[in-house]
Symmetry: C2
Subunit: 316 residues, 2 copies
Amino acid sequence: MKIAVDAMGGDFAPEAIVEGVVMAAAGLPENVQIVLVGKQAVVEELIHKYASASGTSVNAIEVVNADDVIEMGEHPTKALSQKPNSSIGVGFKLLKEKQVDAFCSAGNTGAMHVGALFSIKAIEGILRPCIAGFVPQKAGGYAVMLDIGANADCKPEMLAQFGEIGSIYAQYTLGIDKPRVALMNIGSEEQKGSLIAQAAYQLMKDSRKINFVGNIEGGDLFVNAADVIVTDGFVGNIVFKFGESLYPLMLERGIRDEFIDKTNYEAVGGSPIIGVNGNVIIAHGISSALAIKNMINLAVRQVESDAYTKIAQALS
Amino acid sequence: MKIAVDAMGGDFAPEAIVEGVVMAAAGLPENVQIVLVGKQAVVEELIHKYASASGTSVNAIEVVNADDVIEMGEHPTKALSQKPNSSIGVGFKLLKEKQVDAFCSAGNTGAMHVGALFSIKAIEGILRPCIAGFVPQKAGGYAVMLDIGANADCKPEMLAQFGEIGSIYAQYTLGIDKPRVALMNIGSEEQKGSLIAQAAYQLMKDSRKINFVGNIEGGDLFVNAADVIVTDGFVGNIVFKFGESLYPLMLERGIRDEFIDKTNYEAVGGSPIIGVNGNVIIAHGISSALAIKNMINLAVRQVESDAYTKIAQALS
């Protein structure tokens, strides 16, 4: 298995990325190789630096050169067409040609999304690919929330489909049998919420493809009420970022707690784009080495689970 | 000044309501009277019980009889018309006749909302009254978030108006000069977000009535980024309830912290309906005596600030 990582994407790239890759390499199974995509000389020097410091073998790390970098502020579509030799451009080329099994980046999120749509493309039958986030649960484990930012405006059909693909993802990648799928809403009764939420509720209630458990509210996010939390990318993004803000707030106040630690973005490290023909994982621009390490572990789990093929089969 | 309180509304009514009223009475200025609305004999007995237990004088507490109760699950409009002698019905009658200066209830939220619209009515020029919530800020004090649940579907014009009336409310009730008004969104740039958020951004940017500071994201809610946070009642309700879930979660984990304490719903105790011709405050169904006490204190501040008259003047 080969996991490609964009060495140049992120506020602390390439330093933090390479450091995280070296950290991850130390713990990976023998069949996993990491392919760092970026400016070869720079990346190789950093691999050497972090590998010698930690005494890690670098056999599991390969470097593929990419001369360009898509910056954080660049327009995704324009940047991708003008910079085919950017690390994101090259990463998607490798993924499309199946030279790697996953591509991960902490760089320009829009470029990662557009790159996925243009290269490996959406799975046939998918209305809109989306981004999934992991919401820690008090009882342990995580719920999958989707969409957390790709689609600010969603039709009821899109929300219902997020439920289906989130359910398959949770089943295969998180190993949850018959995942409980819930709709994020502002009341438990089915007539509650926005017009779109009300319509989505009916579609989800009638679906035979999911184990629909009804609405959940803002106060239910951490309390093990669902395994899959369906919402649009507007609500999802706001709620998810709110949740991620708890860890730094608590840290600043001198509070450490096992559960709050799990709300730290570094704990999972990445968010998959779901609904495309391959494994694409995006990470925070601010990603630290630890976040990158955990993102790689998530990529490995995802490749092993082969969830995207399962989603494609379910839709065909 | 007279503050009417629904003695019968709430999961723990009338016990917790009367207990909270007695707690509040002990600390109120001499010019403030509380009017408890509910089943007279029951309420008077409870006043006696809690007042003797705490040694509080009950001079400041008046009782107005109401034979009926609107239950939590009842249909608001139907219940109000069928039960004019319910505590909510009588409370709004007192408010409309200006026999009291505010009406507060932890009962059926829908009935409170509909009751306000039918009795004292929306201020002329208000597109939709909304519910405001108080979001504690790291640097101290609170931001006002609106809408937190009255309007699940909002047009851009409604959001822009929430900004205006929230700004006036923050100025007069919280004493904030030129409140910073922000739009809840999923990115800082003006072209970000849902179509409705994008359109609202333009209206708010062009408004001369507010000090618009742009978008804020989910991670900015506690960090003193704004004094007024504008969003629709769908997002606002989810985010607000998520925020309120932190206190019980932390308590369960044995963590006490001054900031987290402020996210406890009991700390403010109530949420005003803004945009109607009077002071109406609703509280959680689960309200404890402490929550009721603090809700009464909020009502007193609101009556003193006369914010609703200021809003009416701004719109006329």
